[in-house]
Each structure stands twice: as structure tokens, then as C-alpha cells.
């Protein structure tokens, strides 16, 4: 009996703590840095004379919003709309591919204005259902480069857009090429999936834009969660002489940044501003600018300027952004800082090629 009592007590205590922290949290809503200047809430009119704040938007995600990566960016995007325009913050996590159709149907039937379908694995469901619900605008986060091979992936449906930044890898690679002293840089992807593969495929091109003789290694970790494994993998590369590390592997990539800090080499954050993970290593973070991209799409719906089909955001279109320097522009050799700033600008202006 005593033991049962003890267990009950423990449970109650646990729940009690939950209640306390649950209440605490309400106060501090994290704010997301975005590039565009904040717009006044409301004021704009959308389809059917809708106010911006009345727009119904939802993000449908394949994973959790705390994955430090792909899904977290989508959350940041709707959070941004929520903060700026006062729309309801709505997202659904962990949707299996087989369930996506059901979710899309649910939201379409409730007359949502904008449904963000976050991931190319949901392409088939999106294409199937977009036709059935012409009043809702569907955005599928496609996130890879369009060329002759991929062009026929796009199905022409008037209320479906394939939305994503491209050439992030080129930007990351270009910066890595400047940072390296040993001329050996490594980029580690989590898994060979389109959202990651697209970045990996641009790295080498980017590095060679700024550093032709540089040795570039790209490989995959095989995990999106195992940060310790990622850390040890990165350490192995660093011990082999690689002196710039970057990765795209959701939570696991944090381990790579941590490894760089431990060994005193440079790292680039990706997906979010990851300076805080390893302040002694993360020079800059490169981020898919989905918050601004989806804000753009949101406004296009409001203004009646919606565009269907492939809606690609190149570097020129601000599809990819670079974080704050967090003081690194003081710590780094001046010529590297200047060169990086120059190259970023050139890439944005399209002077180094059509990225």
C-alpha cells in the first residue's frame, strides 16, 4: 500500500511540476528574426474582401516543430504570419504520407485560404486534392533546383504552387571556400532525401566559386536525431585536416557544430541561427528564408496576385539569407570578412552566375 501511495505521490508531483512550468511559459513568446520590416496588422484585404487577420493558414508537417531543421522553419513561417498579421497559429506535426490526403481534405473543407504542405513526399496527395478544392490555395514546399530534369515534376494546377528557395548549397559552399585555411571542407547531410540532397548538390559548385583548388567532401550521416554520432563523425573529418564543417541534418547537425567548437575549427550553421550552439565555431548561419517566402505568398493571395506552378526563390530573390555575424566580423581575419561580404553580395546580385 505504501508503495502505491509513493507512486501516486510521484505522479502528482510530476503533474504539479508540469502545471507550474506550463504556466510559466505563457509569458515569454520567442520572437523570430525576419528580414522584412514588420507590416501593420490588418489593413489589407484578401479574397472576398478578407482582412489579413481573418486569413486561415495552416502548415502540415512531416515531423516535429522542434527538429532544429526542416519542420521548425515551417513553424517559424506560420509563426511569423501569426506575429505580423494576427492570423491563428495553426500547424500539424508528424503527418504520415498516407495521412496527408485526409488532413488536406479536412482543411480544404473548412475553407482555409492557404495550406502549406511541407515536403516533396506529399506531392502526390497535394496534386490529387488541389483539383478538388479550387477555393483553397495550396503551397507545397518543394525545395529543390528546377532544371530540365525536374521541370516535368510540376503539374499545372491553378491553385497549387511549388514553393521553395534554391541554391542554398552554393551560398554555403562559397562561404566555406573562403573560410578554409587548409583547403579542406566538409558538408554532411542527414539523409539522401530531396530537401537535403538539393543542398548537398550545390556545395561543391559553391566552394569552387571562391576557392578552386579546395578539396570538398560531401557525405551523409544516416541520422537526423543522433547528435553524438554526428559529432564524432565531424571530429573524424576534422582530425583528418578538414577545417570548415557544415551540415544539414536537423537535430543531428548540432553535434557537428559542437565538434567544430571542440577542435577550434570553423563551422556554418544551417536552417536557423545556430550561433548559440557553438559560439566559438559558428561564424555564420545560412537559412532558408521560408518565413519571408511564405509571407510573400500570403500577401500574393491577399492582393490577388497568386501565382501557381513553380514559385522558386533564388539567391537573388532573397530565398536564402545569412544570419548576423554575432561579432565574428571582428574575430575573423579582415580579408576573410571582406571577401565573404563581397561574395554574398555578388551572389545576391547574380554576378557570380545565375543562382
Amino acid at each position: 500500500m505504501k508503495k502505491i501511495l509513493a507512486l501516486v505521490m510521484a505522479m502528482v508531483m510530476l503533474l504539479g511540476t508540469l502545471a507550474v512550468v506550463g504556466c510559466d511559459k505563457k509569458e515569454e513568446e520567442p520572437s523570430q528574426p525576419v528580414t522584412n520590416a514588420p507590416t501593420e496588422p490588418g489593413g489589407q484585404e484578401g479574397p472576398g474582401g478578407k482582412e489579413a487577420a481573418d486569413m486561415k493558414v495552416v502548415a502540415l508537417l512531416s515531423g516535429v516543430i522542434t527538429d532544429n531543421g526542416w519542420n521548425q522553419i515551417a513553424y517559424d513561417s506560420v509563426k511569423n504570419l501569426h506575429d505580423k498579421y494576427g492570423i491563428e497559429l495553426e500547424y500539424i506535426e508528424n503527418i504520415a504520407v498516407s495521412d496527408m490526403a485526409e488532413y488536406i481534405r479536412t482543411y480544404a473543407e473548412e475553407n482555409y485560404d492557404m495550406v502549406i504542405i511541407h515536403g516533396s513526399q506529399f506531392k502526390a496527395s497535394a496534386e490529387e486534392l488541389a483539383v478538388q478544392y479550387p477555393d483553397t490555395k495550396f503551397c507545397i514546399s518543394y525545395g529543390f533546383r528546377v532544371d530540365e530534369n525536374t521541370a516535368d515534376q510540376v503539374v499545372d494546377i491553378s491553385n497549387l504552387a511549388y514553393v521553395g528557395p534554391v541554391n542554398m548549397g552554393v551560398l554555403i559552399g562559397a562561404i566555406m571556400g573562403i573560410l578554409t585555411d587548409n583547403n579542406k571542407v566538409v558538408f554532411l547531410g542527414g539523409q539522401d532525401i530531396p530537401a537535403i540532397t538539393d543542398i548537398v548538390s550545390g556545395i561543391e559548385e559553391g566552394v569552387h566559386l571562391t576557392n578552386e583548388g579546395c578539396q570538398v567532401t560531401t557525405d551523409y550521416l544516416g541520422t537526423l536525431t543522433d547528435a553524438d554520432l554526428a559529432k564524432e563523425r565531424a571530429l573524424a573529418f576534422i582530425n583528418d585536416g578538414y577545417d570548415v564543417v557544415s551540415a544539414s541534418a536537423n537535430s543531428a547537425q548540432l553535434g557537428c557544430l559542437y565538434a567544430a567548437e571542440e577542435k577550434g575549427v570553423y563551422a556554418l550553421g544551417f536552417n536557423g541561427d545556430q550561433y548559440s550552439i557553438a559560439p566559438e565555431a559558428v561564424v555564420l548561419s545560412v537559412m532558408r528564408n521560408y518565413p519571408a517566402i511564405y509571407e510573400d505568398v500570403f500577401n500574393s493571395i491577399l492582393d490577388g496576385k497568386w501565382q501557381s506552378g513553380m514559385v522558386v526563390y533564388t539567391l537573388k530573390d532573397n530565398g536564402t539569407i545569412v544570419s548576423d555575424w554575432h561579432g565574428w566580423d571582428e574575430k575573423l581575419p579582415q580579408e576573410k570578412v571582406d571577401r565573404i561580404k563581397e561574395v554574398i553580395e555578388q551572389l545576391y546580385e547574380g554576378k557570380l552566375g545565375d543562382y
Binding site: 512550468v21 506550463g22 520567442p30 532544429n68 550521416l221 536525431t225 564524432e232
Partner: protein, 308 residues
């Protein structure tokens, strides 16, 4: 010298990565020797990894974090013991449930406490502690004597637990409960209490493993960060034939699989990464097949015991 240095650093990697699995394995060893089959180590490690970060964050000391991790582990041990000893529920099923609970509860609490942010909370973490003198020995020093305190603790626990299990009366009692609870009962050993103690203490040690992962090897908690180590620890116990030294060897061999993957990838071998990912798991199965003999498990392992 370059080659020697590489070898030295690969050994250090192996030892570091083995430490959480060794700790989890040693904890499981205690639980198993009392006759309880616990497959929920993954869940315990996750909840402890989270609790350690929370503790270190709130109290500003990594040792407080460690304590939090151990308490969280102990709670899981208590729940497990209550369900399987007092209520005699199926141990495998409860273990599965605790795995799910550990994963989902740590994820939920993490989100509630730390929110959805890309910046991470600054926490106190373990520092490496070079052993004076010994760490200066070339090759061997950096490989073996330049680690975090918990790593030394994990490896020191091997002889300690071995001594406890095989040289002390309490250890003998514990093992006899695992071998034959009925006889132990008639000899005056309190089977229930022994199993409760083993489950709670064992889970505390597993908890140290989880805590070390998040506040030692890394400085943050992320969802599912344990990534299968709890299961590998299970295999390490069987492969180690239920002996602490064996568990140590097993943990190091399994993690050598990761070291091999590292070497292969750095050297640019054209092997699909999915196969590299499989290496530790295949190695585990191979090790079980080659080394595990069938007669070593405690006799009453997994069988509920009813006082009669």
C-alpha cells in the same frame, strides 16, 4: 606518428561513445540479475537526458543536472518495479510502454520548458579532466586519460559492480533472487524489496548514461537524441554474458562499429551511407550469434514472482 595519433584519437572516440552504453548496460545488469527483464532503457535514457539538461539549466550546475537525471531514472525504475513486481505485469510490455513514455514525455516537457527555438539554452556541462601524469604519455595518454569525469566513473563502476555482484552478501542475495526467487524467499531474502531496489538503482545508473549524453558529450537536449543506444545496451548485457567486464567489452566493440563507419567515410570509401548506419546493429547481431551462449542468463529472468 600521424597514424599513431589517429589510432589514439579513434580509441578516445570509442571510449567516449561507449560510456553512455556502458552505463546503461551496467544499470541493466543490476536489473537483470534481480530477475527483471527491462527493455525500457531507451526511455529511461531519454527522460534522464532531458532531466539533466533541465537541472543543469535551472540550478546552473552540471552535477545538479546529473542528480536530476538520476532522479528521473529512479522514478522510471520505481514505476517499472511497481508494475512488474507488485502487479506482476508482463515485463516486456511494460518496458515497451516506458520506452514510449520516455520518448514522448521528454519531447513534451522539452517543448513546454524550452519552447520552440533555434537558439539553445546555455547550460553547464562536463569538462574533460586530464589525469595528471598519465595523460602525458604519448598515444596512450590522450586515448585513455583525457576524458570527462563520468567516463572514468563509468569504467570504475565495472570492477565495483563486479565486486558487488560476485563478492558481497547483498550481491549474492540479488543474484539468488534472479536465479531462484522461491528458494531465496524461504531463505529469508525479501524478493520484492530486492527487485524494487535493483530496478531503482539500475535505472539511476542508466539515467547517468542518458544525462552524460546530453550534458557531457553534448550540451543540449533534442528529441530522440538517444537514437537506439538503450537497445544496444540491452544487447551489450547479453553479449557480455551478464558480467560487468563483458558489458564493457561489448559496449566498446559495438561503438567500434561507429568508429569504422567514421574511418570509411573520411577515407572516401564508396559505400552507401545506409549500410554504414547498419554496421553497429549488424555487429550486435553477429556478436550475439558468435559469443552469446544460452545458459548465462539469470534463471528467473523475465518471470514474475508471486509470494506464496
Amino acid at each position: 606518428m600521424g597514424v599513431l595519433n589517429s589510432i589514439s584519437s579513434y580509441i578516445a572516440t570509442d571510449i567516449r561513445m561507449a560510456a553512455p552504453i556502458l552505463l546503461a548496460g551496467l544499470g541493466l545488469l543490476l536489473v537483470n540479475w534481480s530477475g527483471l527483464l527491462y527493455i525500457g532503457a531507451e526511455g529511461t535514457m531519454l527522460i534522464s537526458a532531458f532531466a539533466a539538461v533541465a537541472g543543469s539549466f535551472y540550478l546552473g550546475s552540471v552535477w545538479a543536472g546529473l542528480l536530476f537525471g538520476m532522479i528521473a531514472g529512479a522514478l522510471f525504475g520505481l514505476i517499472f518495479a511497481f508494475l512488474t513486481v507488485t502487479l506482476r505485469a508482463n515485463q516486456t510490455v511494460v518496458g515497451v510502454a516506458l520506452n514510449v513514455l520516455g520518448a514522448s514525455l521528454s519531447a513534451t516537457l522539452n517543448r513546454v520548458i524550452f519552447g520552440v527555438e533555434t537558439t539553445i539554452a546555455k547550460i553547464d556541462t562536463f569538462e574533460t579532466m586530464a589525469i595528471p601524469g598519465l595523460s602525458k604519455i604519448p598515444v596512450i595518454g590522450p586515448a585513455f586519460f583525457n576524458h570527462m569525469p563520468i567516463v572514468y566513473l563509468a569504467f570504475l563502476m565495472v570492477p565495483l559492480i563486479s565486486f558487488f555482484l560476485f563478492r558481497t552478501q547483498q550481491g549474492l542475495n540479488l543474484r539468488s533472487v534472479g536465479e531462484n526467487p522461491r528458494v531465496s524467499d524461504t531463505l529469508g531474502i525479501n524478493v520484492y524489496r530486492t527487485r524494487y531496489t535493483a530496478s531503482i538503482l539500475g535505472n539511476m545508473i542508466i539515467g547517468i548514461g542518458g544525462a552524460f549524453l546530453s550534458t557531457g558529450l553534448l550540451n543540449f537536449f533534442t528529441e530522440d537524441m538517444v537514437s537506439g543506444r538503450g537497445y544496444i545496451a540491452l544487447a551489450a548485457v547479453i553479449f557480455g554474458k551478464y558480467k560487468p567486464a563483458g558489458v564493457m567489452l561489448a559496449a566498446m566493440i559495438f561503438m567500434a562499429g561507429n568508429v569504422v563507419s567514421n574511418i570509411l567515410q573520411v577515407s572516401g570509401a564508396a559505400i552507401p551511407y545506409t549500410f554504414l548506419t547498419m554496421i553497429p546493429y549488424v555487429l550486435t547481431i553477429v556478436a550475439l550469434v558468435v559469443f552469446a551462449s544460452r545458459a548465462v542468463a539469470p534463471n528467473a529472468l523475465g518471470k514474475p514472482y508471486k509470494r506464496g
